[in-house]
């Protein structure tokens, strides 16, 4: 098997990103705004239409996303028809915020980077919308669910199409709102409501970073429009750029559940599984990676911020992998895996121009195979009557053949078995990491081994072994409306990597935006690929060894410290509680005390003092309106007197 690494070993490359002048949106691009307007219309109709739209609303929502996907494909064809350095199209809708020298237009930008997101969001989004027709079939609030999903798609498209940071912020917060609404969709469950709130508040910590970054960008460059900022990026001082980079990283950490703002993602699994697939695996959580890659021109100037990005990526890559290895809840295990895989992407983005394209490449393949895994898990959960504990699964391959086979395709993709998607993209990241830093490269290989372990564990516990089903569970294969999207995604898990790489030329496609630097490794690339594969297979073998025999229905308690910690999500809640939550509430209580006894006490004391005794105060109160009118008159008289005196000379 010839990996891409081998293909590009020939010589060192150094392609600088180009700032493409924004071409006016004409022809097929004239209706760029429609991309956002379609799902927004869907959301509006469903959420405001009320019960009248119950019957046809969900189909309308599906139609809107499919239409957006179709238009997205037309846009791609349009871009393909242009020359490689002329693929940025801009559309200014109207002036949005303009004060003094500050302007933020309501303007969209479609280029090589945003189009791949548009297609990921709308195509995977369409499949997940269709799947949800089956998954949410009996939910009384199905209409609302589809309304929120459409709202999410609209906000996510705004996020990737905005041509300036402030407008991006609207999309950024919009997806946060949709995420909040969908995590707490079953909000009669206190745990779901709490999880939604937690996600929103933790994301707001990231938003502090985004807000401050935008402000710093403006006071530095005098603009927040991407092209204008990037054109001047080289002129700013390095310390300023470092701060901008770190603040954007904070924002990315919030949205993409990276350390230290990762704790909300596991709780977010309270949302219906299609939501987990679309928002908390394939698209929204990768917005942080988009932000960093989009801001590449800034990061290119600051090795410190870039290194910070890489370090955060490495930490989260392991953190997520450990958590994924220890959780028995299938969705939480997958959520850990998502954290870990986004860690890979962040790591790659932290390599700078060496890694940007591969971060996006992995983001795309991951978007497909992780959606596949989550929808597969959803199909299992659906069939198991809502049960999510893998210790109560087992042997499901016999009753859910399509789910099993499609899940296996995604499994092979995520652990990186050639020629499945994940192999190509993960291999590229490992290769790029070695180009920059051997230690990081080794980390990436080890994490690939852990990925092999936890995914094999999941597959064995779910589909193999003996049934450990609860008594009331009668597992069955899901309906076609759910399995067809799974089949399509499974085909995607198999071929997306190859298709993007060889047919789509994803690397060449993206480099005008991201740039690319490559240097040959001191050893043959094939060695790296073999080493990675061996480590992955070791992980797989360990999992087989451990879970081949019967899986106990209760998790064993005599486990090592790491396992215990990983089961508790590395104690993230406890740490946040001690460091942030409790101090905040203590401060809140202290201030309330100050307010009631201190400030107000002084005021009331003063009032009592002025009014004499409490009794007199009360009498004063009752007669006060009349006295006040009198006081007014007295005041006016006083004014007149003083005026007269002043005028005398």
């Amino acid at each position: 098997m010839i990996g891409t690494g081998a293909a590009r070993l020939a010589d060192a490359t150094n392609i600088a990103p180009v700032i493409q002048p924004l071409a006016e949106a004409t022809g097929v691009f004239s209706y760029l705004w429609l991309l956002i307007a379609l799902p927004l219309l869907g959301a509006t109709v469903l959420l405001l239409g009320g019960r009248r739209t119950n019957r046809w609303g969900p189909y309308f929502a599906v139609l809107m996303v499919v239409a957006a996907a179709a238009y997205g494909i037309a846009l791609l064809v349009g871009l393909l028809g242009r020359s490689a350095d002329d693929r940025a199209v801009g559309q200014t809708l109207f002036e949005w915020v303009f004060v003094g020298g500050f302007t933020a237009p309501m303007a969209l930008q479609l280029d090589q980077l945003s189009i791949v997101f548009v297609l990921l969001i709308t195509i995977v989004g369409s499949l997940i919308h269709i799947y949800s027709l089956g998954y949410m079939e009996h939910d009384p609030d199905k209409r609302k669910f589809f309304g929120f999903l459409n709202l999410f798609v609209a906000a996510m498209l705004l996020l990737v199409l905005a041509d300036n940071y402030l407008l991006l912020y609207v999309g950024w917060e919009g997806v946060g709102l949709a995420s909040y609404l969908l995590i707490s969709f079953w909000q009669y469950k206190p745990s779901a409501a709490a999880a939604g709130k937690k996600a929103f508040v933790m994301n707001r910590i990231g938003d502090v970073g985004l807000s401050l970054a935008i402000m710093l960008i403006f006071v530095t460059f005098g603009t927040v429009v991407f092209d204008e900022v990037f054109a001047m990026a080289g002129e700013a001082s390095e310390s300023t750029l470092t701060w901008i980079g770190l603040l954007l990283l904070l924002a990315a950490a919030g949205k993409s559940a990276q350390f230290p703002l990762q704790a909300w993602l596991l709780d977010a699994m309270e949302g219906p599984t299609p939501v987990s697939a679309l928002i908390h695996a394939a698209t929204m959580v990768t917005a942080g990676v988009y932000l960093i890659v989009r801001s590449g021109a800034i990061y290119d100037q600051t090795i410190f911020a870039l290194t910070a990005v890489m370090v955060i990526g490495v930490i989260t890559m392991f953190l997520g992998a450990f958590i994924g290895s220890a959780k028995d809840d299938i969705k939480k295990s997958l959520a850990g895996s998502t954290m870990s895989q986004i860690g890979y992407m962040v790591l790659a983005a932290g390599l700078g121009p060496v890694g940007y394209v591969f971060a996006i490449f992995h983001l795309l393949t991951h978007g497909v195979f992780k959606a596949n895994l989550f929808l597969g898990a959803g199909s299992v959960i659906h069939g198991m009557n809502g049960e999510q504990d893998m210790r109560r699964y087992g042997a499901l391959r016999k009753v859910m053949v399509i789910t099993w086979l499609t899940f296996m395709a995604a499994y092979l993709a995520i652990i990186g078995i050639p020629p499945f998607s994940g192999f190509w993209s993960k291999d590229d990241i490992i290769h790029a990491a070695f180009e920059v830093n051997v230690f990081v490269g080794v980390c990436a290989i080890i994490a690939a081994g852990i990925t092999g372990f936890y995914m094999t564990r999941m597959v064995i516990m779910t589909f193999f072994g003996k049934p450990r089903w609860p008594d009331d569970a009668h597992p069955h294969e899901s309906k076609a409306v759910m399995t067809i999207p799974l089949i399509i995604l499974a085909i995607g898990s198999m071929f997306t990597g190859m298709a993007l790489l060889f047919w789509g030329d994803i690397i060449d496609w993206l480099t005008p935006v991201t740039g690319l630097e490559q240097s040959p490794l001191p050893f043959p690339t094939i060695l790296l690929e073999i080493a990675t594969l061996v480590v992955v297979l070791v992980g797989v073998a360990i999992a087989i060894g451990m879970y081949r025999k019967d899986v106990p229905e209760e998790a064993p308690q005599d486990v090592n410290i790491l396992t215990k910690a990983a089961r508790n999500s590395m104690y993230d809640d406890a740490i946040n509680d001690v460091l942030v939550v409790q101090p905040t509430y203590s401060l809140s209580r202290a201030f309330i005390g100050v307010d009631n006894r201190g400030i107000d006490g002084i005021v009331n004391g003063l009032a009592a003092f002025v009014g004499g005794s409490g009794e007199r105060l009360r009498r004063w109160q009752t007669g006060f309106a009349r006295s006040y009118a009198l006081a007014m008159v007295g005041g006016a008289v006083l004014v007149v007197v003083v005026l007269a005196v002043v005028r005398l000379p």
Partner: protein
């Protein structure tokens, strides 16, 4: 210039309405309410018609100017006129009055005078229009003080069980502020008499004075404390939670949503242009008070057990943002503050009205613990409540976001540390607001909530304009920016301030 006395007509319409209400038969409650609504809507229509004639490109400081001598001996005149800032605040007042009348349709049901309630609201509307339109400082002062009377009665007569205490506290606070302002006003008159030979209260003439810095510093304080009590800044805020809790929702909306803006409006209109040196001198103090207020208000809101008190503290936090934007002296932040006044007015309306609808359905309790699971039984009401919560936390895309961001941007351009601290307020806001929604609307239904009916047509109708305006001004604030920007530029010119230049200013960086 137009010859139609728009502002006077606009101000008089609600007053006529109030007088007509008084002669209507007291038993015909329905007719009284309808009349009140019709007059408030007439004022709104007039505002729209007037607003459409406002010339954003005009070089005149004020438009729709009218001036008639009142007490010529003392240079007092009835002078009105609006710049863009005054215009949008007048519009806020005339928008929210019909909204509150419609929402507060059944606020008075227990034998208290329906007539009085709505008549006082209309009187208050006249005074609010006047206070934003006055260009004679004495006229402003009189209206500023007289405004207390309708609010006093609206709280003291129609409020909750502890209304007497709350109303009196409000009055005492306001009186203290008013007296200080009066003293400063007289001082200002004295200075004008000394410099011009003839004392005056005319705003333009006062701005033209060259007051020595020491005098400025003294006079500034008189006005400032009055304004800091009105738009309560920390530590002058403790009347607000009581007043908010004891008011009917409609009163709370008019009090916090509109009337309190007189304080921050006064800072932009009067403090900065008349006392530029003192404003600069006291800016660090005001900024400190504002930032403390932002964080303090948000933290105290986080621990509240009462919805209305929570919204009061949240408002106090937002007033901190507004004052901050004014006293960092940038066009961004000052325009931001003006937008924030609008955004906060709308957010307050959404918050207190939905809280009021909840309370009416749960025996009048504003305790958060009374509620739970409202979303299950009254999803439309819960939906509006969620909108109010999102509006309070300045979600991007809503009106308050544009204001909040511009305030923070301006602050950042001068004081990075202050901006960083203030930005932390957005996390706390999310925490207290979503905690409130979580406790009220999610989880299992509380016994008080069972069988709660959802919003009816009238209630929805009262909220829809608030929601629409909040979204429209968040997505397309251009109509407001068009009129506010020139007014803010004028204030900046008057105080001799310019925006900091970006480090790498692109060619033509300044407009």
């Amino acid at each position: 210039m137009t010859t139609i006395p728009w502002l006077t007509i606009l101000g008089v319409v609600p007053l006529i309405g109030a007088l007509i209400l008084l002669v209507l038969p007291r038993d015909n409650v329905r007719l009284i309410k309808q009349a009140a609504l019709v007059f408030s809507l007439a004022a709104l229509v007039l505002t729209v018609v007037m607003g459409l004639q406002f010339d954003a490109d005009s070089t005149a400081a004020f438009q729709f100017v009218e001036s008639y001598p009142w007490i010529p001996a003392f240079g007092i005149s009835y002078s009105v006129g609006v710049d863009g800032i005054g215009l949008v605040l007048v519009a806020l007042a005339t928008t929210l009055v019909p909204v509150t009348i419609l929402a507060g349709w059944n606020d008075v049901e227990d034998g208290r005078s329906v007539k009085g309630y709505f008549a006082w609201i209309l009187v208050l509307e006249t005074l609010m229009i006047g206070v934003f339109a006055a260009t004679d400082v004495f006229l402003f002062y009189v209206l500023f003080e007289v405004m207390l009377i309708p609010i006093y009665f609206l709280i003291g007569r129609y409020g909750g069980p502890n209304r007497a205490y709350a109303a009196t506290k409000f009055l005492i606070y306001s009186l203290v502020g008013g007296l200080l302002m009066l003293a400063a006003l007289i001082g200002l008159y004295v200075v004008s008499a000394q410099q011009l030979g003839q004392g005056t209260f005319d705003f333009a003439a006062l701005v033209g004075l060259d007051i020595d810095p020491t005098t400025q510093k003294i006079l500034f304080l008189g006005f400032f404390i009055a304004f800091a009590i009105k738009a309560p800044l920390w530590p002058f805020h403790t009347w607000l939670p009581d007043a908010a809790k004891e008011s009917t929702p409609a009163t709370a909306v008019l009090l916090i949503g509109v009337l309190d803006k007189v304080g921050t409006f006064g800072m932009i209109r009067y403090l900065l242009p008349i006392f530029p040196a003192a404003s600069e001198f006291y800016a660090p103090l005001v900024i400190a008070m504002a930032v403390i207020g932002i964080i303090y208000g948000a933290l105290v809101a986080l621990g509240q057990t009462d919805m209305k008190r929570l919204f009061a503290y949240s408002s106090m936090s937002h007033f901190g943002f507004i004052a901050l934007g004014i006293f960092v002296f940038t066009t961004w932040s000052m325009t931001g503050s003006t937008l924030y006044m609008l955004g906060h007015g709308l957010a307050t309306a959404a918050a207190f009205l939905t809280a009021g609808f909840l309370m009416q359905r749960a025996g009048g309790s504003s305790a958060i613990a009374t509620y739970g699971g409202v979303n299950k039984v009254a999803p439309v009401l819960a939906g509006f409540f969620l909108f109010a919560v999102m509006s309070a936390i300045a979600l991007p895309g809503l009106a308050s976001f544009v204001g909040e961001f511009l305030v923070l941007l301006g602050t950042f351009s001068r004081y990075v540390v202050v901006a960083v601290i203030a930005t932390l307020g957005i996390v706390l806001a999310a925490a207290y607001a979503l905690r409130l929604y979580q406790k009220v609307a999610t989880g299992p239904e509380s016994p008080h909530v069972e069988g709660m009916r959802d919003l009816n047509g009238r209630e929805v109708t009262s909220l829809v304009p608030v929601v629409l305006l909040t979204i429209v001004l968040g997505v397309f604030p251009a109509p407001v920016l068009d009129v506010v920007n020139p007014a803010v530029d004028r204030v900046m010119d008057t105080i001799g301030m310019t925006d900091p230049t970006p480090a790498l200013a692109p060619a033509g960086g300044d407009q």
